[in-house]
Structure formats: C-alpha cells, structure tokens
Amino acid sequence: MEPQPVKDSSDYYKHLSLFWTDIIHLMSSKPQALASVGPMRAFASNAKKISTELIEINESLMGFNQFVTEYYKQLAETWNVAQKKVNLKVPDVPHDVEQMDSFKRIWIDIFDNDFTELFDSVKFGENYGKLVSKELELTKHWNNISNVILQSANLPSKEEIDEVYKELHSLKKRVTKLEIELKKVNKK
C-alpha cells in the first residue's frame, strides 16, 4: 500500500512519526501482552495515543507561536508609537515634583488611549481569538494525554465525568419540573 502524498514538511514529519510509532507499537504489542497485566498493560496498549497527541501538539504549538508572536508584536509596536508621542509632547526631562506629576499624567493618558485603541481594533480581536483558540487546542491534547493515564488506572476520563454532569443536570431539571407540577396539584 502506497503512502498518501504529503502536502508539506510538517505533514511529512507527522507521517514519519506516525509510521514509526505504529510499527513499534505493532512490533511490541505481543510481547507486552504476555509480559504485563493491570495498569501497565492498559497504559502500554494506550501509549500510541500519547505519541499521536504529542505529534499533534507540535502542530498546535506552531500555530500558537505564530499568534503569540503577533500578539507581542502588536503590543511592542503600540508601546513604541505611544512612547514617541510622549517624547514629542514632553521633550525635556522633568525637574520638579509638579513637572514629574504632569509628565506621569501625560504618559498614562497617551499609553491608555493608544492601548485601548489597539484592544478595540479588529486586528487585535482576531489575533487574540486565534491565540486563545490555539491555547485551547493545546489544552485539549493535554486533556487527551491525561485521559490515557487516567484510564490506565481505571479512573473515569473527562468525557465520562462530563456525561455524569450532563445526566445530573438533566435529572435536576426533571425533578424541578415534577416539584412544580406537584405544587400545582396540591394547590387544587
């Protein structure tokens, strides 16, 4: 069977890592099955998931780095522009307390205005949204890795706990509705 064509170097890297992870997993699964029982057996059979998550983390990390670099670039550029405005408005070094106070006031006003303008802008909002999104993807990979470890210890995963929460929420709603109905019947 021929490998699927790869789009770029990151895809090739992913394919290469997955290939060797899969082969090693296949080669080692039989001796593992004979040699281990209990949590280590469960962990070994799920270890491939961890490798896959770690490979995908790299992709998310690349995206995260791109947006976090842009985030700090936007902050640095705004800082530089604001500082230039301050320098133009107050060219001399303040010499007394009054001058110092008015310098501080001008500095704060200009910086607050410029940064608020940045935070209000579409370019900041879009980049920040993407940055948070990538951070969430990293968290998801971390959750998935933690789930493998939890399952190896026979503990419920996040998804399983979520199911319980969902069921509880739905039950509570049903009980509340029944209580309201019961009150109405009792009033009659």
């Binding site: 010499h95 935070f119 949204g129 929460y165």
Partner: protein
C-alpha cells in the same frame, strides 16, 4: 565640568516617602483576605444548588409594600452593591424604606457546566421571585438587574410579566453589536464553543485578562501608586482594598450559560432583535409593559451606553424612564454620586410605584 540640569530635591524626598510608605504598608492596613465583605446585616432565606437568596434586615419602621429583588451580574460577586456603609446601594435603599432581597449566584464548579440561561431565568430567578411573593404576601415584586444580571432579568420579565410590578435595568447588557467596549471586541472574536467544550466553565483567568486590558496603565500602575501614596488615609485605603478584593473575587461562569450569552448577545445580537429563545420560549422585548427605569453610565467602559440604551426604546412600556449619569460602571452603584444622585432618583421613582 558642571551639569546644567538640576533635579529638585523634593523629587528625591517624594521617592523616599513613597518607599517608606511601601515598607510601612503591611503594618498599617489589613490584607485583603482579612477583610469581611458582608456589610449590611441579612438572612439567607433560600438556597438552591450554589445560589443563595439574601434578605436584608429592615432599617426603617415603615416600609414600601412591594419588595425589591436585585439580580446581580454574573461577573464578580454581589458585594459591590454593599461595599461599605457610606457607599452601599443596599443600605441606601433600606434607609429609603424598601424591603430588599439579593440573589447571589454563588461560585459554580465544573459540575455546573451544563447550567444555561433557562436554569438561571426560569430556575434560580423564578424560584427567588416566587419565594419573595410568598414570604411578603405580594402578588408582584419590583426587580432590579445589574449588568449581565439585567440581561437575565430582562429575559425573565418577558416570560413572567405577571410577577413583576416594576423593572429597574442598571447598565444592562442588551445590544451587543452597538457595544463599543474592549470586552465586546474580545467576545465577538471568541471561539466560545471550543472554550466550553475543552475548559467547561468560563475560567476566572479569562475575566482577569479582560479587566487587565481596560485602561491598563491607569488601573495597573497609577491606581497602586495612589494606594501607597495614601497609605495613611484610613478611609481611602479601606475603600480601595474592599473594591480590590471584590475585583479579585471572580467566580467561573457556567459553560452553557456563557456560550449562550456570548453568542446570543455579542456575536448574533439576538436579544435586541427579538430573536432570542430561553428554555424554548421566545424573548420579545415588546411584551415588556410594566414601568421600567433604565440607568446608564456615560463613562461605562464595561457596558457602553450604546449597548444599554436600546432597551428603553425596545420595550412596550408606556411608563418608561431613561437616566444617564456622568460616571462609570462601578461608579454608578458604589460612589458618592450614586448616593447623592442615582439612588435618590431611583428611590423616588420606585416609591411612587411601590
């Protein structure tokens, strides 16, 4: 070689004084953790899940007939409405003869991630209103909503108009597309589905980030410089620490509720377009016909006036009043202006209808 520039020795004096104040601060003031945030005496009259209904003890012999329930915001805790005696919103209303209740939403945990608008509007808020009606033998109550608490209260009064006599909307979050604040800019670009799926509840850290981008230099530097400069001013320091402690107490927001709030209010702007649904029921602002008093702060950088004011024009009420005050989001409820201007006007309006 002589230097031509001379530095005023007073600058050095100021720096030394400031350093001394920083060193002396721990000896002069309490740590925020040591401050008790409960000011006006009250009883907890109902608890459902993590929410609590607070009933404030009366401060006058005679009281207006209709009790008032305050639906506080989802961000931070209710303490800002009773921050200290001389700036307390609650205490002022009690002194004007109102019977005041407060709904504390509590601090949701991971277990509460599926709580949604329906639970808050038709569950917690409705249970509180029903409790007060029974307790006070009133057929209707007055309802006040603050900030996001007003979004919930607005949905409530369209679905349960028979229980509410008067409605007070204080800085309500209504028209997300018109909101010009930094918060709305972040909300509009947020992948809220992903956040709720992966994190569950809206984490407090996200809220702290939102606070940190609001006037970052005034709030992040100047505010604390002033605190240390005025470290010997007991009144100033007490007020400062109380507000700071309140700002730092941000509970998570249940995931499903947060998702609907961000999508329906900021991203799709359904509420003001009369397209929002809560628990399967249609929210039509034109159906609001009770007397309504809308309070807006001109300098509000959390909920801009453009976001709040459309409520006044969208409702079907004939008896409606819109008041604008030259202050900010918190200044409208916890300042000397709120005590001398905002609350007397609200009290007069409410008393005439209670």
């Amino acid at each position: 070689m002589k230097s031509e520039s001379k530095i005023d020795p007073k600058i050095l004096e100021e720096i030394l004084k400031f350093s001394r104040n920083v060193m002396d601060a721990p000896k002069l003031v309490s740590a925020p953790d040591e401050i008790n945030m409960e000011v006006t005496p009250h009883d907890i009259v109902q608890e459902i899940d993590k929410t609590r209904l607070l009933h404030y003890r009366s401060l006058t012999e005679k009281q207006h007939k209709t009790p008032l329930l305050i639906s506080y915001a989802l961000i931070n805790r209710y303490h800002i409405l009773d921050i200290q005696p001389e700036k307390s919103w609650v205490r002022n209303l009690l002194l004007q003869g109102f019977d005041v209740y407060m709904l504390d939403w509590g601090s949701p945990t991971s277990m509460d991630k599926y709580l949604d608008f329906d639970d808050y509007v038709n569950g917690y808020l409705d249970s509180s209103v029903e409790f007060i009606k029974n307790e006070s033998s009133s057929e209707k109550i007055s309802l006040q909503g603050y900030c996001t608490g007003a979004t919930i209260a607005t949905a409530y009064i369209t679905l349960h108009p028979e229980s509410v006599k008067n409605y007070v909307a204080t800085a309500p979050v209504i028209d997300g597309w018109r909101d010009t604040t930094v918060i709305s800019n972040l909300a509009k670009h947020m992948d809220v589905d992903k956040m709720v799926e992966i994190i569950g509840n809206m984490p407090p850290e996200f809220m702290y980030y939102c606070f940190s981008v609001l006037k970052p230099f005034e709030q992040g530097i100047e505010k604390y410089v002033n605190f240390f400069k005025n470290i010997e001013n007991k009144k100033f320091v007490d007020s400062f620490l109380r507000v700071e402690k309140w700002l730092g107490d941000t509970p998570p927001i249940p995931g499903e509720l947060f998702k609907q709030w961000i999508k329906d209010i900021y991203q799709d702007n359904l509420l003001i377009q009369n397209k929002m649904f809560v628990g399967g029921s249609h929210i039509d602002l034109k159906k609001i016909t009770m007397p309504i008093f809308t309070q807006v702060a001109v300098g509000d950088h959390l909920v801009s006036p453009e976001c709040s004011m459309p409520l006044h024009y969208a409702v079907g009420s004939e008896d409606k009043t819109l008041r604008m005050y030259p202050t900010g989001h918190v200044g409208m409820i916890a300042s000397s202006l709120s005590q001398t201007k905002v609350l007397p006007e609200l009290g007069k309006w409410l008393a005439e209808r209670s």
